[in-house]
Every structure is written in structure tokens, then in C-alpha cells.
Symmetry: C2
Subunit: 357 residues, 2 copies
DNA sequence: CTGAAAGCGCTTACAG
DNA sequence: CTGAAAGCGCTTACAG
């Protein structure tokens, strides 16, 4: 069946297990065992089979192997967008860890409520993967319910969703840390700047950070603060517009807490353009641990994305393994163990200082 | 065969084609035709089958379908790293286009010569995908030869490799454009800054940009320039170190052409730290069209990454389709058509100006 | 228009 | 230690 190459193709048909078996003079069952490192094969036989496989540059067909075993060896990672630093970093680390565990990664980008709806409606991941990682996706209640129809294990990274296992930082505490830092420096007018998707669906991390900021301002007796909360539509000019609005207030803030480092960077650059010195005239800080914060020397709350990815990968791998082992008992120990909340770290740099008198 | 749920699992076993066939009172052959939209099924039958599939929330098993059809519906995208803006942007756009064509994307990160060697040695993509996109990977001649063993079609994005179909910008011309811009402003001492991997393997875009810079400096009678070429190891401090070295020269440059926008940004920030005004004391420009260049108002040569991705996707899709159609003739029209060189664009911003007298 | 059957390339009890 | 055979879930000539 593997005779001459197909016409029209310069790629020769790859060998299959039957070819190896024939060349090695054994059955395909033995080839399978030998190559998968399963017991029950003589050492000499195993060596011979491996040599033949090597010579024919044969590798086991994942398609067939998985069909037979009822698993795919693949994990889907679903992100709103791949480009932003947070997602690129998260996915990059995830891919690395999953690869080490022998799992391939399939990427799905579902930007906007419509795409998310379509994704869940079409269930594209279904049967294509052993598990799905949802990276901080805002979902409607209805969409959450549809998750079960995916028919695979789901892990949430960078947020929380229903009772699914998840890995995240405590965004409420992140905001508290930021506000405490600025209050500690002597600021009393502390603005919060964030961006909105064009999307209606609430984004949990965003809600929590805004809530944490509000809570903590009240806690320090600095509320009410609603006029200091500015939301701009996501885009390269969001930070500039937000700062312009804040500076137009009768009593402008002396410090800005931005939802992300990218936003903080844009605010800091805009401050320069407006002739304000950072931090003398305005303190600026963000959240993430983004390289741009390092480059521009901005204070930030590092949310350790690489660690979040590592924990997420560990959770996924455990789930896949437990399914492979088909654990008895009706209870899934893994799912109940994994509500992982990682620490965040305040990184003080040159963009925050006491307000000038 | 799809009786009660497995013990230990709260996920019910998904229906298979046989379940649908039984419920609809037809053979699995008919189910297959009906669901795949193939001809030869009565309209009433098709409708009924679709209704049953819907009710059982059945979707065709990609594993089985692909095994049967001899294709996977998947494309592998191989990048050195996913995190840098260029790769994140390229992959993000690729995933989108491939998805529209019904193809899933598998991500492989092969950072460093060792990983690349291992990737090619283990041929992980083999039989897992219908095609592979190599994103600007520096490969040794030996590794290039091993590509054939992948057993799948290969397309190169952001560079050129052997006789493989590829999509790229002309990096020689990119450097010419940059040098011409700076010379046109009156600069005569124009440095080039770049980063090296720890890696020995030559990176084509890098070599081309350096060569183009050198060529064009000579062309304008401004050579020899070797002392103005600074290579620093990749990292967050590369730009700062590079500028420090240039400023230590007896006759420092008045303009810096950086390999990338990220590097240009680091150089510009370092210039500020050193008390130099940009562009009055030093002109700085990069390559990419990176958001940070926009943020910091840096002149750049935009290499239109999204368009490169679109062309790459189109090439891959054509290759996959042509293979599916099993074109006769021994010649592959697609492979020979696709040496796509896209235009680049000079974007002049505030970081370049005539040198001060 | 429809079905029985072979085949895609494996894995794994089961029986030696 | 090894093999024959059933099965994973499809697709597709082939024959009605």
C-alpha cells in the first residue's frame, strides 16, 4: 500500500505500522508495543523494531493512535485576542509547559461577544482536544451553561467562572495594593483609568479592580470617587483621552491607577505631552509586569503571568491524566483542588512619589 | 455502546454516528453524506438526519473523519517565541485567517538552536497537520534538509528559505529606506543597532538589514561604518547598552537605525536618561510598525505584519486545497507562484529630524 | 437515493 | 514474549 509516490506530489507517502512490521518481521501489535515502550516485548525485538522505524523515519500516526485510545493529545487554548501582552505571554508559557507534557496546543481566538457565541454554538473544540483552557473570557450566563456541551474538561486562567477549576490573582487585592501604595505616599485624589471593550459582557478582572479601588478609597475615607473613574474605549489613544478628561476636572487627581501597564504607559506619555512631570506633578502606576513598564520605569503590580500559566498547565495536565486513568468514584479530586489564587507583587519604580505640595 | 455515563466522569459520552443513524432510521453512510453536505441524499432524509444530530448535539469526530480522509484540517505554526510583538501579531492574524478557511492552528515554539534541532529531529508536526508555517526561523543547512522529512507542505513567513514558498518584505530595501530617510535629513554618522540571539544561526532578516545599511552608507559615500554597527545580546537592557557604547565613540553618531521598534524605543529612552534630546541631539528610528513606536512617537519602517500574515494564510490554504484535490502533473503550481515580497512603508514621526549644527 | 462493506492506522484485551 | 482479531468513528467506491 505504500508503493510509488502519488502522482502530482513530491512528498512520498509516509510509512505506516504495517510497513514497519513487515520489515521487522513481526506483527503490528508488537510494533505498537515496542514503539510505545509498553511491556511484553523482548529486548532484541524492541531494538530491531526501533531500528526499522528509524530507518523508515516512521512515527506513529497520532490520528489513528488517538482514535484508538479515545484521546487526542491536544489542548485548546481560547483567548479573546492573541496579540496583547497578557495573552501572548500566557499562551507562550502554556504552550511550553503543555509541550513538555507531550500535549499539543490548538489556539482559538474569539474576539467579541459574537465570536464567543459562535464558538460555543459550533463547539469547535469538541472532540478535537482533551481539555480547554479559557483565558479570562467574559461569558454570558447562557454561554457558561453551554460550556458543558464542549464535552471536555475546562480550566479557566486569569479569572473565575462558575465552579470550574481556575487560576488567577485576587484582583480585588491587586487594587487594594495599588491604592494603599499611593495613599501611603500621601495621595488623596487617586483616579482609576480603564478601558471598555465595545462589548457588553462584564470582564471579571476589570470589575474587581474597579471595585477594589472604590472599596479602598472608601476605606481610607477618600470617597466618593466616581468622578475619578474614567473608562475609555480600548485603543491606542485611550490613555491620552482618559488623562485629558481627568485634567479637565475642577479638582484633578494627583495620582492615576491604570487598569494595565499599557494603559499606564499611555497615560505617562500623555502627561509628558501635556507638560506634566511624572512623578513630580502626577504619579502613574499600572498592573501587569509588562516590559513597557520596565522600559518607562513605571510602578506596577506584577501579576506573574508566567506563574499563572504554569499553574494552569499543571491543572490541565492533571485533568487530562485523571481522565486517561478514568478515576472511579464519581468525584473528581482535581477539579475540587484547583481554585488557585496566586500572589501579586508591588514593584515600585520611578513613576510614583509623594504629591508635590 | 453509548449507555450510562462512565463512572468517575460527569461528562456523558458524546454520541457517535451510529447513534444518529439509529435514531434517524438510516445507515451511517447516509448520516455521513447528509451531515457533510454531499450529494446523493434525499432532502427529507437530510433534514431528518440534521434534526437528530442537532438533538443529540452530535458533531462529526474530526479524528475519525481525518483518519478516513487522510488529512487533518490542521496547520502548524512554528515560531521561535510567541511573546514578541512580531510573532504574536503574525500568529494572531494567521489563526484568524486559517479559522475562516476551516483550519485549526497548532502552535510550536522552538526557541534557540537546540530546540529547533529537537523539533526537526522528532518531527512532531508530522502527520498531525496538513501544512507547516515556519515564521522567520533561522535554520542550519542540515535542518533545512530535514524539512522534507516533515512530510507536509511548508510555507515560510517573514523570511526566505531554500526554494520553499515564502512571504516577506525586502529587508535590504527596508534598510535602504531607513538610511535614505536619515541621509535626506542631513545625517552622515548613522549607527545601526541590533541584537544577537545567543544562537549562532544566522537570521536572514537581520543579516539583510545590516547589509542594506552598510551598502547604502557606502552608496552615499559615508563608509566605512563598521564602528557604527553595534550588536548587543537580546534582552531588556540591549538598547541602553548599545547606545552607551555608541556615545563612547570618539565621533558618536547623530542618528541611530535600530533593527526593531522595541530596540529603538529602548535607545530613545536611554537617550533621555543620558540627557540627550530626541530628535534634537539624536535621531532614532526602528523597523516594524510596533505600537510602542506609535506611543513614543518614533519614526519607523512599517513591515505590515498583518498583510504578511494574510498572504501567508492564503498560500497555506491554497497548498492544502491543492493537496486535497491531488493535482496531477508532477508540478506544483502553487509552490512556484508564491515568492511574495510585500511593500514596506516609511512612517515619519517626531523622533527623526536634521542634526543640530 | 440508499446501504453493506472495506479501509484509514492504530491499541488492546484475549489466547497462546 | 508474541500474534490474530475486534474495535476506535468515520468516508467512499461499489452495488443496488
Amino acid at each position: 500500500m505504500n508503493g510509488s509516490p502519488q502522482p502530482g506530489s513530491h512528498l512520498s507517502t509516509p510509512a505506516n505500522m504495517a510497513d514497519v512490521a513487515r520489515e521487522a518481521g513481526v506483527s503490528i501489535a508488537t510494533v505498537s508495543r515496542a514503539l510505545r515502550g509498553r511491556p511484553g516485548v523482548g529486548e532484541a525485538t524492541r531494538t530491531r523494531v526501533q531500528a526499522v522505524a528509524e530507518r523508515l523515519s516512521y512515527v506513529i500516526s497520532p490520528e489513528a493512535s488517538h482514535l484508538s485510545r479515545g484521546e487526542t493529545g491536544r489542548v485548546a487554548v481560547v483567548v479573546p485576542l492573541l496579540q496583547p501582552w497578557f495573552y501572548a505571554t500566557l499562551v507562550s508559557a502554556l504552550v511550553g509547559h503543555l509541550r513538555e507534557a507531550g500535549l499539543d496546543t490548538l489556539i482559538y481566538q474569539v474576539d467579541g461577544a459574537q465570536e464567543r457565541g459562535r464558538f460555543l454554538a459550533e463547539l469547535p473544540a469538541r472532540r478535537k482536544v482533551d481539555a480547554v483552557v479559557l483565558a479570562a473570557l467574559p461569558l454570558t450566563p447562557d454561554q457558561r451553561d453551554r460550556l458543558d456541551l464542549l464535552g471536555v474538561r475546562v480550566v479557566v486562567a486569569g479569572g473565575r467562572l462558575r465552579d470550574l477549576p481556575h487560576v488567577r490573582v485576587d484582583d480585588l487585592a491587586v487594587a487594594h495594593t495599588a491604592v494603599d501604595h499611593l495613599v501611603g505616599l500621601g495621595h488623596r485624589r487617586i483616579a482609576m483609568v480603564r478601558t471598555s471593550d465595545t462589548d457588553e459582557t462584564p470582564w471579571e478582572a476589570d470589575l474587581q479592580r474597579a471595585r477594589g479601588w472604590r472599596e479602598r478609597m472608601d476605606h481610607h475615607g477618600l470617597g466618593p470617587v466616581e468622578e475619578l473613574l474614567v473608562t475609555e474605549e480600548l485603543g491606542p489613544r485611550a490613555g491620552a483621552r482618559a488623562l485629558d478628561r481627568l485634567l479637565a476636572l475642577p479638582d484633578p487627581p494627583t495620582a492615576v491607577f491604570a487598569y494595565s501597564d499599557e494603559l499606564a504607559a499611555a497615560v505617562a506619555v500623555r502627561a509628558h505631552e501635556r507638560g506634566l512631570r511624572v512623578p513630580e506633578d502626577l504619579s502613574v502606576m499600572g498592573v501587569d509586569g509588562h516590559p513597557v513598564a520596565d522600559l518607562l520605569n513605571l510602578t506596577t503590580v506584577d501579576q506573574h503571568v508566567a506563574e499563572q500559566a504554569a499553574e494552569t498547565a499543571a491543572t490541565v495536565i492533571a485533568l487530562v491524566r485523571s481522565r486517561a486513568a478514568d478515576l472511579p468514584g464519581g468525584v473528581d479530586p482535581v477539579a475540587h483542588r484547583h481554585d488557585v489564587v496566586l500572589d501579586h507583587t508591588l514593584v515600585v519604580r520611578a513613576s510614583t512619589a509623594p504629591p508635590s505640595a
